[in-house]
Assembly symmetry: C2
Homo-oligomer: 456 residues x 2
C-alpha cells in the first residue's frame, strides 16, 4: 500500500497517522487544505478455542473493512492466529473471493487458523511484543483486530500499550468470542448461543430417546458438555425441559460443589418418579475441595490416570450405587463446531461485533471491545455497545447463583429468560450432496518483508 | 369394533377373516353375494433401539391404515413396544390428533415407547406367544406391524407362525428399522441415513475445528460412533472428506482387526503429513482375537473394568505412544436421536416402509417386510420391494470388504457411491423458541378386556 497522502497531526517518524485522530475531528479545519490521511492496513487474528460462528465475526470484520477504504487499506489475517503475526505469516484476505468471504458466515471453526498462544507479560517477554510491532510496521498495519476470549483481550490491550511505548501507535480492538460465555461487560459472547443451542437440542433429543426405552433398557443418560470454570453451557441443557419430569433432570455446574451422595440420591429419586434420569454435567464439575470430578475416576491398564471424561466417572458412580443401565456421551468439539445447528441470533451477533470492531476503530476508538447489550428479553432486543479492554482482560463471568435452583441441580426461570433468546432462530448452512457446504480459504501468503526469523 | 360382515372363506371359529385371503382374490365370485368382510384392528409396535425416523415409519403406518378402513378398523400401538401387547397396555391411536400424527414424521425416538425385549423361542416360552394371541384375539387384532431390526423380524415371523398354530391367523408385516444398517435384502435400513448424516456432518465440523488449531493445540481427535458388529456408521464418517488430507484420516471398523502398532504408525504419519489426525472409531472395533478394544482400557478406582468408551482407550494409546495433545468425543445417543439433522431421503424411506407395510398387509401378504430397492445411485432412485421375514430374521449384513480400502483405514469409492445418496437432502423439524417442536402423544390407553395379568 502506498503512502499517497498524510495528515500532519499525529504523524509519527515512520509516517504513522492514527486514523482515529483524524476521524475524531470530523470538522478539522486543516483537512480542507491538507491531503487526506493515508489509509493503514489492518491485521485480524483468531485466538483460542474456535466456535461455530467465529468466522462470522471474521466476515463482519472483512466486509466492513472493505467499506472503509478511506481508513483501512489491505486486511491481513494471521495464519494460525497471533503466531502468524509473530512469524510474519500473513494471509492476504483480498485474494479470497467475495463468495468465500460471504461463506465464512456459515462456516465453523477458524478459517484462518487459531492459536492457543498467550503472549507473556511485557516484562517476561518483551521480544515477542517488539516483534509484533516490527511486523506491523513492516506491513504498514495500523489496526489490530483480535478475535478471542479474556486472554486475547489482555493481549490486545498489551499490544496497544507497547505500540504506544515503541512509538508505533496502533489501534487495537477486541472482537469477543468464547463458547464459555464468561466475558464480563457483555450480555453474552458470540459462540455461546450456538453451543447452547446444540446442547439444548441434543439434550432434548437424547432425552426423548431415553424416555422411549427406559422401561426395558437404559435408565440413566449422562451428557458431558464444555465449561471448565463456568456453567453457562451446562445451564443451556436446561432449556430442553421446563417441567421437573422433563429432561434434563439434573445439571451439574462447576459453580456448585459436587456431593456424590446428594447426587446419587437425586438420580434414584428421578428414576423412581419419572422412570429414567438425564444428567447434563459440565466438564468443570468439581468437589468441594476444588478437585475436578473427572480426575476422580479412572486409571488405564498401566495405572496412569486417564485424562478427560467426567461423564464416564459419573456414570460409573451411578452403576456402582444403583446398578442402573446407563449410557453416556461426551460432545467435546462436536458442540462448539456444530454450525449446522447454530443459533441465528448468535450468527448475527458474531457478525455484528466484527462489523462494530471495524467501525469503532475507524471512529478512532482504541483498546476497546464491542459488547452485546440486551435491551429486552421478551421480545429479545439487543444493540452493540463497547467497553475498554482494560475492564475485560483476564476477568471471568460465572453463572450467578440466582440462575441456579436452590437445590443446585437445575436452572431458574431467570436463567431461562436469559438463555432462551440466545438460541433463537435458525441459520442453516447451504448443503450439497447431503453435507454443509463449508468454505475453505485459499490463504495466499503476503510476501515477507523482514529478514529476521522468529521462533515461537 | 363391530362384526358387521364376514367373508365365509377362511372364517375361524372366532369370526376371524384374514383380510388378505379376500384381497388375494379380487375377482372372488362369491363377493358379490356375500356381505363385505369385517375390518380387523391392527397392532403396531416399536422395537429395539430407536432412531431419528422410526416415528416417521409410525406415521406412515398410521396414515395409511386410515386410508384402508375397508380392511383395518382401529389401530392400537403397544406402549413400550411388545411389552404393551403382553401386558395388554394398548394405546388408542385414534385419540391422537392428525397434527400429532403428522408431527411424528419430524419427531425422533419412539413416541409410543420401544422395548429391548426379545421373545424367546416358542419352545422355551410358549406362554408369551399364547398371551400375545390372547390379547390380539380380545381386541380383534388381525394385523401385526412390528417396527424393528433383525430380532424383531424374527419375532414377527414367530407370531405369524404361532397365530396360525393356535387357530388365530394374523397378518404379520415387519417394518424395517435400524441405525446399524445391518438388515439383509434391503439396500439400506431406515434410521441409518440420518445417523450417517449426523456422523458425516459431525466429522466434517470437528475436523475443521481440529485443523484450525492443530499448530498450537490438539493434534489428534477421536470420534466414537455406534455399530457394535457392522461398520456402516463408522464408514459414514468417511463421507466428510474425499481426499487423503481431509478428515477423517483413519476409520476403525469392526470388520478389520485392530492392530495397535499399525494404527499408531498411521496416526504419526498423518500428524507428520497433515499436521493433525482425525479418527472415527466404531464402538465395535476389536482385536484379532475378537476382544473389543473398548474393554482393553480402563479400570475405575475400585479396579472394576469400566464399561463403554473405545474413544478414550484409543486416545490414551496415542498419548502414551506419541504424546500428542488429543481430544475425544463419544456421540452415543446423540447420533441416533439427531432428528434436527436427519437425512430427507431417510425420512421419506422410513415413511414409505410404514406405508408399504400396511399396503402389503391389506393386499394379503403375510410374514413379509418391505425393503428399499436401489434403482440407481447417480441420480439416486429407489422403490419399495418386499422380502419374506424368514429371509431376514436374525441375519446381519456387514460392511463388504470392497467398501473398505486395502489398508483397512478408509472407505472406497464404491462405498462412497453407496453411502452418499442415503444422507441426501434435509428435512429440518419446525422450531419454536430456538428448539425443535417435537410432538408428544397423549397415549390414551385402550380399555383392558382380559382379567389375567401378565408379568414380563
Amino acid at each position: 500500500m502506498g503512502q499517497q497522502g498524510r495528515h500532519v497531526t499525529g504523524a509519527s517518524p515512520q509516517g504513522q497517522t492514527t486514523a482515529h485522530s483524524c476521524s475524531r475531528e470530523p470538522g478539522c479545519a486543516i483537512l480542507g487544505i491538507m491531503k487526506k490521511p493515508a489509509p493503514k492496513n489492518a491485521f485480524y487474528a483468531q485466538s483460542g478455542g474456535v466456535s461455530a460462528v467465529i468466522n462470522a465475526s471474521a466476515c463482519g470484520v472483512i466486509e466492513t473493512a472493505k467499506r472503509h477504504q478511506k481508513h483501512i487499506g489491505k486486511l491481513f489475517a494471521g495464519r494460525d492466529g497471533i503466531v502468524g503475526a509473530l512469524t510474519e505469516d500473513l494471509i492476504d484476505v483480498s485474494r479470497e473471493s467475495p463468495a468465500t468471504i460471504r461463506g465464512l458466515k456459515h462456516t465453523p471453526a477458524g478459517a484462518f487458523g487459531s492459536a492457543r498462544f498467550k503472549l507473556k507479560g511485557i516484562e517476561q517477554n518483551r521480544a515477542e511484543y517488539e516483534r509484533l510491532i516490527d511486523v506491523f510496521r513492516a506491513h504498514d498495519i495500523g489496526y489490530f483486530f483480535y478475535n478471542g476470549g479474556n486472554d486475547s483481550m489482555d493481549t490486545a490491550l498489551k499490544v496497544s500499550q507497547i505500540g504506544q511505548a515503541l512509538g508505533y501507535p496502533i489501534t487495537c480492538v477486541g472482537v469477543p468470542k468464547t463458547v464459555d460465555n464468561d466475558l464480563p461487560h457483555t450480555d453474552c459472547c458470540p459462540g455461546f448461543g450456538s453451543v447452547a443451542k446444540y446442547v439444548a437440542v441434543s439434550t432434548l433429543e437424547a432425552g426423548l430417546d431415553v424416555a422411549s426405552m427406559a422401561r426395558t433398557s437404559t435408565k440413566v443418560f449422562v451428557l458431558e458438555v464444555m465449561g471448565r470454570h463456568a456453567g453457562w453451557i451446562a445451564a443451556a441443557g436446561g432449556l430442553a425441559g421446563a417441567k421437573p419430569a422433563q429432561p434434563p433432570h439434573i445439571i451439574l455446574f462447576p459453580e456448585i460443589p459436587f456431593v456424590p451422595q446428594e447426587f446419587l440420591d437425586r438420580v434414584k429419586q428421578c428414576v423412581s418418579d419419572f422412570g429414567y434420569c438425564v444428567v447434563v454435567v459440565s466438564e468443570g464439575s468439581a468437589f468441594a475441595d476444588g478437585k475436578f470430578v473427572a480426575d476422580a475416576g479412572t486409571k488405564d491398564a498401566f495405572g496412569h490416570t486417564q485424562l478427560g471424561g467426567v461423564a464416564p466417572v459419573i456414570a460409573n458412580m451411578i452403576r456402582d450405587a444403583h446398578g442402573y443401565k446407563y449410557h453416556w456421551a461426551v460432545a467435546d468439539y462436536l458442540q462448539r463446531a456444530a454450525r449446522h445447528v447454530a443459533s441465528r441470533v448468535d450468527v448475527e451477533q458474531a457478525y455484528a461485533v466484527g462489523k462494530a470492531a471495524v467501525e469503532l476503530a475507524v471512529q478512532g476508538m482504541n483498546a476497546v471491545m464491542p459488547t452485546i447489550v440486551r435491551r429486552s428479553s421478551r421480545p429479545y432486543r439487543w444493540t452493540i455497545g463497547h467497553v475498554p479492554l482494560a475492564q475485560v482482560a483476564n476477568l471471568e463471568k460465572k453463572l450467578p447463583r440466582f440462575f441456579i435452583t436452590a437445590d443446585g441441580f437445575g436452572i431458574t426461570a431467570a436463567c431461562r429468560r436469559y438463555l432462551e433468546p440466545l438460541i433463537g432462530g435458525e441459520a442453516p448452512p447451504p448443503y450439497r450432496n447431503g453435507l454443509p457446504e463449508y468454505v475453505r480459504i485459499k490463504g495466499v501468503a503476503v510476501r515477507r518483508k523482514l529478514t529476521a526469523e522468529f521462533k515461537v
